[in-house]
Symmetry: C2
């Protein structure tokens, strides 16, 4: 297996990307290679930390870099030699088997869609994240690839994310909920109402009906389906809120338990780690004809390392093959 | 001032409603009255707890009750003598000056829109909540009145919620953010992009641009504008997440600090109280031609009591008058 990494994408590129690649060696099998794509000199400088790098790392030079705030399609057009564009092109050419980026998410989604195309039967790719809860992992799809969703897109997110949770998190026959603003059929916007009937009519899916924001943390479903605008708001809200609530609780506790500051800080650290995107190893763009793992822009070396592990798992557990299979049977039902 | 309360609406009606009304006496001025609307016998039974009730409470009998899960418009049509319908009708007739309900939110919004009409210049009413954060209160509007928003609606939510934060929370010249999925102009769905230019063009508003979910807790704005679908998802997510994060942190801490269970539980209780909807005193339906305060269905007597206080504040600080004033000047700018 050959995994391409956009070495120039993240907020702290290429330092964290290179260090993450070095640390990921533990997850590679014999013969596997990581291809770091980006400015050769900068990459080499950080590789120097580990003299064994040539055993499992290759460098592929790309001169240009797409910034975090650039408009995706325009940036890809004007920077054909950017690390991100080259990374997806190499995957499309068969020079790599997967790609990983902590760069501009919109540009990564656009490049993957253009170069890797879609899996057979998929209408729109969607990004799936897995969030830890008191009751176990919950997958949310889409969290930002597609802000103009149609019911068919959401329905397929239910199928793809189910496969992902089953393959990667070991959740058997995942319960799928549709994010809305009330459990009753009549609640929600037009998109939700139409999606609901598609999800209901597919006997291959374990659809549990509408779920509300609070249900994500109450163990009522394993997969939450939503459009990319709502999903992205939810994703970032969770990030900000975990931080905010914990900070407030710490302030209270410090005042109440003087002398226990360190223990309290340690406990908080362990919770924050549970909500830390660096632990998940990135989010797959489900539905593209390849493997594309998107990392948080602020990913540390640990985040990149875990993304390599996620990439290996994605490939070994044949997520794409299973999506195509479930999609072909599921759609017959939904089309009736 | 006469405040009508739907005594039959909440999950624990009429017990909590009646007790809340009794406890609210402390906020009333001389001559103010609370009118409890609903089944006379049930209301009287709980009023018996306080022999002084006739000094500040009246009962107005209404035979029917609208359930939490009933379809709003149909329920209002088929139950003209429901406590909710009677409550709004009494306000419209001038028999009361405000109304408070912990009942079916959709039915309450529909009844208020039909009976109280809209304030001059308002396109669509929206529900505003105030959430506590580490950096101070943040208002979010709309959280569920309007799931099919147009840019003009969102723009007016910015104006109305600004007035509300200024009048009720004492935030001077509130910073208004538009909830989106990235700070750049190009990010977001069509609704957000169009709303952005309306907000930008109004010199009376302190618009700080797009904000993301995490920014709600980072002190970057005082008012968050969003459509009612997204806002309701956010509201319920916050509710579920505060609970979930705190529970996880408590489990960690209990294991690390044996013997300190009570202190830890106490600290958690004080945080949960900060996020407790019962402390806010309900959310106003901004933009209707009257005062309509909507409470969480699970409101306790404390929640109802605080809603009465919120109602008094809303009236004394002349929120509606100020909305109309800002709306009439603001719109001239936006129409250019």
């Amino acid at each position: 297996m050959r995994i391409g990494i956009d070495a120039m994408g993240g907020d702290n590129a290429p330092c964290e990307e290179v260090r993450g690649a070095l640390a990921a060696r533990q997850f590679l099998d014999r013969g596997d290679k990581i291809v770091l794509i980006g400015r050769q000199d900068a990459i080499r400088q950080h590789l120097a930390e580990d003299p064994h790098w040539p055993e499992f790392i290759e460098i592929h030079h790309a001169e240009q870099v797409i910034g975090m705030d650039e408009a995706p399609v325009e940036a890809l057009r004007s920077k054909p030699d950017s690390s991100l564009a080259v990374m997806t092109q190499m995957h499309a050419n068969g020079q790599t088997d997967a790609c990983v980026s902590a760069g501009n998410t919109g540009a990564c989604v656009a490049a993957a869609q253009m170069r890797l195309r879609r899996l057979r039967g998929v209408h729109r790719p969607g990004i799936a994240i897995v969030t830890p809860t008191h009751y176990g992992p919950v997958g949310i799809c889409d969290v930002g690839a597609n802000v103009n969703c149609r019911p068919q897109h959401l329905y397929q997110y239910g199928i793809m994310a189910s496969v992902y949770l089953q393959c990667i998190c070991g959740v058997r026959n995942p319960r799928v909920g549709l994010l809305s603003i009330g459990q009753e059929d009549a609640k929600g916007n037009e998109l939700v109402k139409q999606t609901r009937s598609l999800l209901k009519s597919d006997a291959n899916l374990r659809f549990v009906g509408n779920v509300e924001g609070r249900d994500i943390f109450r163990g009522v479903c394993d997969v939450v389906v939503c459009d990319g605008f709502v999903g992205n708001v939810v994703l970032k809200l969770m990030e900000g809120m975990a931080e905010g609530v914990i900070r407030t609780l710490l302030d209270e506790l410090k005042a109440m338990l003087p002398g226990k500051e360190n223990t309290i800080r340690e406990a908080a650290g362990s919770i924050i780690a549970k909500y830390d995107y660096n632990e998940y190893g990135g989010a797959p763009l489900l539905g593209v004809g390849g493997i594309c793992i998107i990392c948080h822009g602020a990913s540390s070396d640990r985040g990149i390392m875990n993304a390599v592990r996620a990439t290996m798992d994605f490939s070994k557990r044949r997520v794409n093959e299973q999506i195509m299979e479930l999609l072909s049977t599921g759609q017959r039902v939904a089309d009736v």
